[in-house]
Symmetry: C2
Subunit: 273 residues, 2 copies
């Protein structure tokens, strides 16, 4: 049961407000209810938001916590004047001191995700997603020269979610290739990858965790057996060591942590700005 | 050319620092260089970060802007004491007032993305990604009953990136189905979808933009011709109207905006918390 509600109020998508608010709230032992109020971009909508927030506060008998990333000052003023919650104004707090330091005025433009859909950065990102999808699970050897990174590892070591995350959130063209028994017999990386060794990054995982994950897909199979998982992981790690490629263990890591580590190691030139 | 560097310093991935910092910086007409310094979780690494920041400031002759989301107080103190940049301490600024209001102490635990890899929320998210991949572009009719949302639209209207985003960032099982000439001739939604009409959401796009996007893939094809795009879009919109499903135009919208709107409309029960 939640005992308090947290609102994320934004004139854009509310993604920034929620990302940051969640990070702050993760510092507290509590499970509040989350309500995202996106696209609050008129004074009318602001009054509606105030009513909803204040009503919730009355019902729960506790001040709602209200994270705002409002750029429109008229909208912000309605919230500031009317809202009985605890207001955490994320933009106001930092934008003003930055104006001082930078010596320039902020332009109060709403929503950094709007008007991006025709920008180069955005179309590159969509292209990266398409690339990563087309190069998921070794589906295609075409244009591997265009990849920013090529992930390798045994089946279910985390390659697919990591590739898609790298594409979606970082704009990286991330291909991924499974390491399979044929590779282990040959004791070599998949031949298509050899010319691109400097962009290969390996993922490994503990055999116990791998067996658990595989058992959810195919219970009681040889594929999911702990013996088979042990062998595959040992073979894959030996191969990565022999090939001299960088690798990490995904066992206790989230996609975000895996992707951050890979980015630090790979540092694709074209993404430095 | 950049003229100033912005650092994002975190004891975790730095994703929160960068997401929020980018939103703040989007308020200013400037193109600073971005440097993310993740996993700064020891005093030693903090001293290294301070050296890097101060060196950059000297070389550029301008104070670097330093966004921090540091939870470890010893690390934060090293940065606060040594850093000659402009420090924007995102956690300190908000955590203290929240402690007062909530009447509980924050636990200063590092990295909300760590230790999540075995949580229910995290495994649900991975499952959602796998579901969305398996149900991309009408690949599978299996277990559509388990989908949270089913996107429909003509080829290249934005279904695939939106589905993957909804899965990756919101944990939604998002299937997607193309609307194709056979559907238009039959004047009906793809038969497999009919039982699930209440979770269908349509994407449309302006014919001009669609022709542009398709021409990048297949220049000078009938597929990409403006006449064909006009016909397909008109047919698809007519079908969505007849079927009474909700839809939006993706023409000028980013994935984030499309996904936020869909979430608002669909509001899957299981994701309310």
């Amino acid at each position: 049961m939640h005992s308090r509600t947290v609102f994320f109020v934004s004139d854009g998508t509310g993604i920034t407000a929620e990302t940051f608010g969640n990070a702050i709230l993760a510092q507290f032992e509590m499970k509040p209810r989350h309500v995202r109020l996106p696209f609050i971009d008129t004074v009318d909508k602001a009054h509606q938001a105030v009513r909803q927030i204040n009503h919730t506060g009355e019902v729960e008998g506790k001040k709602p916590v209200v994270f705002t990333t409002l750029v429109n000052m008229d909208v912000l003023k309605v919230i500031q004047d009317g809202c009985k919650g605890m207001l955490l104004d994320m933009f106001g707090t930092f934008v003003h001191p930055l104006e001082q330091e930078l010596g320039i005025k902020s332009h109060h433009r709403v929503g950094r995700f709007s008007d991006v859909s025709r920008s180069k950065e955005y179309t590159d990102r969509i292209e990266a997603i398409n690339f990563s999808l087309a190069h998921d699970d070794g589906q295609s050897n075409r244009d591997l020269a265009g990849a920013d990174v090529i992930l390798v590892g045994v089946s279910r070591s985390g390659k697919t979610p990591t590739s898609l995350y790298l594409a979606m959130q970082c704009g990286l063209k991330a291909a991924n290739y499974p390491l399979i028994p044929e590779d282990f017999e040959r004791r070599q990386l998949p031949p298509a990858l050899v010319p691109f060794r400097n962009k290969i990054f390996g993922l490994t995982i503990s055999p116990d965790r791998l067996a658990e994950i595989r058992a959810e897909r195919r219970p009681n199979s040889k594929y999911a057996s702990i013996e088979n998982c042990r062998t595959e992981v040992a073979e894959a790690e030996a191969m990565m060591r022999r090939a001299g490629i960088r690798w990490l263990s995904t066992t206790t890591k989230s996609i975000e942590e895996i992707a951050t580590t890979i980015l630090q190691e790979v540092r694709p030139e074209r993404l430095v700005y």
